[in-house]
Symmetry: C2
Amino acid sequence: MTKILKIGLAGLGTVGAGVVRLLRDNAELIRARAGRPIEIVAVSARDRSRARGISLSGLKWCSDPLELAADPAVDVVVELIGGANGPARALVEAALDAGKPVVTANKALLAEHGAALASHAEVQHASLRFEAAVAGGIPVIKALREGLAANRIISVAGILNGTCNYILSRMQSEKLDFASVLTDAQQHGYAESDPSLDIDGIDAAHKLALLAAIAFGQVVDFAGVHVEGIRRISQLDIGFADALGYRIKLLGIARETKIGIETRVHPAMVPLKSPLAHVNGVFNAVVAEADHCGSLFLQGRGAGAGPTASAVVADLIDVAQGRDVPVFGAPIASLGARPSATMDKHRGSYYLRLMVVDQPGVIADVAAVLRDHDISLESMLQQGRSPSEAVPVVLVTHDTQEAFMRAALVELAMLDSVVEPPTLIRIEPS
Amino acid sequence: MTKILKIGLAGLGTVGAGVVRLLRDNAELIRARAGRPIEIVAVSARDRSRARGISLSGLKWCSDPLELAADPAVDVVVELIGGANGPARALVEAALDAGKPVVTANKALLAEHGAALASHAEVQHASLRFEAAVAGGIPVIKALREGLAANRIISVAGILNGTCNYILSRMQSEKLDFASVLTDAQQHGYAESDPSLDIDGIDAAHKLALLAAIAFGQVVDFAGVHVEGIRRISQLDIGFADALGYRIKLLGIARETKIGIETRVHPAMVPLKSPLAHVNGVFNAVVAEADHCGSLFLQGRGAGAGPTASAVVADLIDVAQGRDVPVFGAPIASLGARPSATMDKHRGSYYLRLMVVDQPGVIADVAAVLRDHDISLESMLQQGRSPSEAVPVVLVTHDTQEAFMRAALVELAMLDSVVEPPTLIRIEPS
């Protein structure tokens, strides 16, 4: 089996150029592991003349990416254009129509159209692989879909967005506020000029939706993910987290509950005993809890040319070897489609920070509101005294239902002594 | 593809019973992910009447495990007998002779006879899989062999023996000495009555030999692994490790050097900044450094019925789906057979503890010996004063060559003021 596996590559940004470079750098080793050579034969990108630090000589240039799907010289299409619709989606559909395997790093596309695309791939008996779409170089899709395939998964939780983790890590280690770290991250290329996909949690939610579909054998349900970003995280809360033995991380969490699969992305207070608390900078990490295997923790580089290309080429080697796997780990017909659990039924413990006027009776008022909503406290922290100004009061609750917390928050916000909207951060694992 | 995959299982100890239980507990889910049912049809073990907490009714009992290889009703043989030779080896060879895929958890067998067995499997076009042989429930074989397949691996280092990690963790957290923790571990079933395979590093060396073969594309070379166990680790060194910001761990390390692949198992001082320093109790963990992917860290349960069965059944699901992979990640003909690098050429930094008489001039004598061997010091620590007794002096060196350290040790041991054989522990990563 020495027939060359011929690749048509769409998208020559950082990752695309990384794939070209990796296939050349490690050609001999990849040939041994794939059982045959893997070579790019045709490429497509918006701008042919852009400097990328790689030679494109000898490769067919396609001004329209759809040519890659149609070209009989292309065995496999690699889609690195990005975006949930437009040319990326058109290319993947055209390639599957032509019965060609597709390898993509496109989390948005899979999260929003994963069910339809998986059906399409299944009907066409064409492979659709997306290791690079989640957690970059960490082979987490393979670990969940194959490595833990014998297990019922209980929960998956992860740090899935390197930009957010970089910002939160620097806020914590350098005592800087969100806005200044974001600006600095943008200047150094760690955050986009429009950072909203990252910092509002959308990117992490795309990835979580894919992990949840595989882990729980469900049709991918991006719309069912509860999403909160990190814009409202303040230095004050970072400091209280430190004092209480937590780190604030943007987590994606999917877990089985009695009322359905909960999928949510939000900032969380992570206890220092959790390995996720110690994942800093641009690293990503995932913890899976499985019924027979127990806990599995994976950590690695979540983005960048090298790690993402590593994941793309791992998928290509699997294609070259004919190692096939259903898109979401099991045939579409066997996937469930239970509605996601809603957050009002969520149970957990909470960090609650109030800014209150520093006068007698305030704590009693706050405690009464919580009591009236059946919320019991694990601890309370008040730092500093300032009779004329607002001071922070931090409360950590025992397990309670989110609906109760929400109702209590409304009442707390109405107290005369509470002078700012309360800040609520979930504690995970609680 | 709903043809049942029929399993013949040899060995019904903890892991064997765990496999039977897992295949029953999660039968429906496994059927969806494997594309067909996986069922045990025949079993073999030494003692038919032993209570195992599982029903064997409906399963064919084979008093000779070789019957499983010969039985036309058996599609795949699962070997959980253990041992590098004897019935385990005979069964695996017979199954491969019959062209049947083999799934095994037998690290000793693969480490000692891996090259011959891989050739045998290749000639017979039969799969030989051993995810369960290394790090229990962590899918580290799959991660290295498939997930990082696009990369040149630079190094692999891991905590590969749960018994040793349990003992060292308790020595550290409870300030107990080696002998008493070992006795306690034996009483609680965390260590065997003959613990030497574990505590002398042999088990970790078996596993490391397998990881190194896959990571570096080399013929497995167990004999080339340098092995030291943990018997000589004292509470004194555990305490100094704490003081210096290290944890003592039994590591298996394989790395590419200019003079060949270094493979070694020994206690190491692991800096607290390394994730391996924080892996406690019976957990296993592996860090791989890859040229494009960067660093990948995996942590999970390294032993026990559930995690090991999880790995065995993951292999069975791959077999059911026809996902084939060369035994060591690449065809035998493409594997290298460079001799392993010898330890005298090893370079690294060292922790050195001497017991010296507490009198003027001792440190000068010690420093002179090290200087004469071109060894420079990063730090020195002397705790306590006791003019009439021996006191410990700890030295941490900069990078040096092991042969120089060994020569210096001989001279240090001969100094009148040095009253015990010096203790040397390598610092990793140095």
